[in-house]
């Protein structure tokens, strides 16, 4: 699905959080949103998901304005997982993934063969079919995150919106989640995800948007966005950027000791914006 933003501006109680964002994504493209805490990544995702309403500007899904969709219609197009989701009761994985069919079902309508097939596929694509009957409290963090991804995939959406899908996960799970996401993108899903880990983002993203205080500091290919100057501007630290020997993608090197030497005028402190 094509996702377009035109001059998107959002404010919490008249305090601007996003200002004049524009971008265009085609079918099957992965966009990574990066930037410091409070730079507006989650807010942007919530705007695209239709949960928050922009103050001005517009969002288009396949050239149709977001406001023209009902919440149910949106849920059939967009599968989304917010940050640090907590499940209130100890459901089984299957029960949770079946919830992904809600936007397709009438109030009294049963799951049906089409729904069961979508659930089966979602469980398979996320490699959790074997513990479909287990309760969510018995899963590890990585397994739980895949279950949440499976809920979104059971919606049979045309795009995925993911907020920090790999945070707090061990590296094996981080890779597994990212591989699943890339596979779905290759199958045609447009993906927008907020990521903390710049190097992981560089490996998997087609496009990268560096946000800082609600503004788009840079938008482009990872190698265009991840430059020492831009990182310094956004995060206020000195880094070195190298090309990965193995994948050719830009990789950030933190430079803890050298930082003091390089910034002869003294380290410039930068406070994260709130929210």
């Amino acid at each position: 699905m094509r996702i377009s933003l035109e001059g998107l501006t959002f404010a919490y109680d008249s305090r601007p959080v996003l200002e004049g964002l524009s971008l265009d994504l085609e079918d099957g493209e992965i966009l990574a949103l990066v930037g410091p805490n409070g730079s507006g990544k989650s807010t942007l995702l919530r705007n695209i998901a239709g949960i928050l309403k922009p103050a001005s500007g517009a969002i288009y899904l396949d050239f149709k304005a977001l406001g023209e969709f009902t919440p149910r219609e949106l849920a059939r197009l967009l599968g989304a997982v917010e940050q640090e989701r907590q499940v209130g009761f100890d459901f089984t994985v299957r029960e949770l993934v079946e919830l992904g069919r809600l936007p397709h079902l009438g109030r009294l309508e049963r799951l049906g063969p089409k729904g069961r097939e979508a659930v089966r596929r979602a469980l398979e694509l996320t490699h959790i079919a074997e513990f479909a009957e287990r309760r969510i409290s018995t899963l590890s963090g990585g397994e739980r995150q895949r279950a949440f991804l499976a809920i979104a995939l059971a919606q049979e959406p045309k795009a995925l919106l993911l907020d920090e899908p790999t945070t707090h996960l061990d590296i094996n799970y981080q890779l597994e989640i990212m591989e699943i996401i890339r596979e779905r993108a290759r199958a045609g899903l447009t993906v927008i995800m907020a990521l903390h880990d710049l190097n992981l983002a560089a490996h998997y993203a087609d496009w990268m948007a560096l946000l800082h205080c609600g503004r788009l500091l840079a938008l482009g290919k990872p190698e265009e966005v991840l430059t020492p100057e831009r990182i310094k501007e956004a995060f206020g630290v000195e880094v070195a950027v190298e090309r990965s020997h193995w994948t050719g993608t830009p990789q950030i090197q933190l430079l803890p000791q050298i930082r003091k030497v390089l910034t002869s005028s003294g380290p410039k402190e930068r406070e994260d914006a709130e929210g």
């Binding site: 219609e73 849920a75 989701r85 009761f89 919830l99 409290s137 919606q155």
Partner: protein, 330 residues
């Protein structure tokens, strides 16, 4: 054990309890005789006891247990908080105050009483909802604390009304609320209560899947195309209606709404499509037998029903507080 079998057992138990409870009370009537009298009245005193007192009383107990357990199960799902229940959140306290005001004004009647209770309950529910919204994302205890504080405030207003009414013949009528009893059961009460309980149950059952989705949190539910703000208000209004009607007809009967959904969840899991109807049946069964105990423990005197349910419920609540500190799972 399959879920279907559990429902058959629960339904059978409910029917057996309704009929069986007619044999229990101050006057001993053998079970066989009481059953025979339900279907073939013979005009005797025993026949009147069974048909005009005990059977409506068992039905009232069942309907009130059903209403409170349903309200409890729904509130727990709504607030994603296993410690929620109509009493702990102060909704029943608001309803009691509303009923007490109606009585003290001398307006007491089969329609005005539930209406007064409903208005009081609605006020409490909207207050606790607002307080809980502000507390979102913090400890589940803030909801409980808000509810307990509200409950205490309403209890003091109720006490004040009782104080003002002291010496009046209406006093005994108000005091009845403070302790909870099915002693006023009659068929006319039932015709007012049963439709409310039935309709409330239908509305809640139709929303069971959405309650499941709410377990993912407000935002998670929104990603599934739901509008939790709207839907939560509807459910809160229905639970308040169930609670207020129960309070209006039987007074303070705590902990049924808290314990029943917990025990059912342990057996059936958290899926509200099964949890809600099973809690409703189990709550009804529990209250029939709690009332039977209230009528027989100090025979021929009758204990207030609220004493029995609190005696069972309070230790259970403390146990939950200790074993589920985060309140996140189950």
């Amino acid at each position: 054990m399959s879920k279907g079998l559990i429902f058959v057992i629960l339904a059978g138990l409910a029917l057996a309890s309704l009929l069986g409870a007619t044999a229990v009370g101050a006057v001993t009537i053998p079970l066989g005789k009481s059953l025979a009298l339900i279907f073939r009245p013979d005009g005797s005193l025993q026949s009147a006891i069974v048909r005009e007192i005990r059977l409506p009383r068992a039905l009232l107990g069942f309907a009130i247990g059903l209403a409170l357990a349903l309200a409890g199960a729904t509130l727990q799902g709504l607030f994603r908080n296993p410690l929620a229940d109509p009493y702990i959140l102060g909704i029943a306290g608001g309803a009691t105050t509303g009923a007490a005001i109606v009585i003290s004004l001398g307006w007491s009647g089969p329609l005005t009483l539930p209406l007064g209770a409903f208005l009081g309950g609605l006020l409490a529910a909207s207050l606790v909802y607002r307080l809980a919204k502000r507390a979102r994302g913090t400890s589940p205890f803030s909801l409980i604390l808000a509810g307990v504080a509200l409950g205490a405030a309403f209890a003091s207003i109720t006490s004040f009304i009782i104080f003002l009414t002291a010496g009046d013949r209406r006093l005994s009528e108000i005091l009845f609320w403070a302790m909870g009893s099915l002693g006023r059961a009659s068929w006319s009460y039932l015709w007012a209560l049963l439709p409310v309980a039935f309709l409330g149950m239908i509305v809640l059952l139709l929303r069971a899947r959405e309650l499941n989705a709410l377990a993912l949190g407000e935002e998670g539910a929104q990603h599934l195309g739901l509008e939790p703000e709207r839907f939560k208000r509807v459910l809160l209004a229905v639970t308040t209606l169930l609670t207020s009607t129960a309070v209006a007809f039987a007074g303070t009967i705590g902990f049924v709404g808290l314990i029943t959904p917990h025990i059912v969840r342990l057996i059936l899991g958290p899926d509200h499509r099964f949890l809600l109807p099973a809690s409703a049946l189990a709550g009804g069964i529990f209250l029939i037998w709690a009332d039977a105990a209230a009528r027989t423990v100090l025979r021929p005197a009758e204990l207030p029903l609220g004493i029995i349910t609190a005696l069972v419920g309070a230790p259970f609540f403390l146990y939950l507080l200790r074993t589920r500190p985060g309140g996140e799972m189950r």
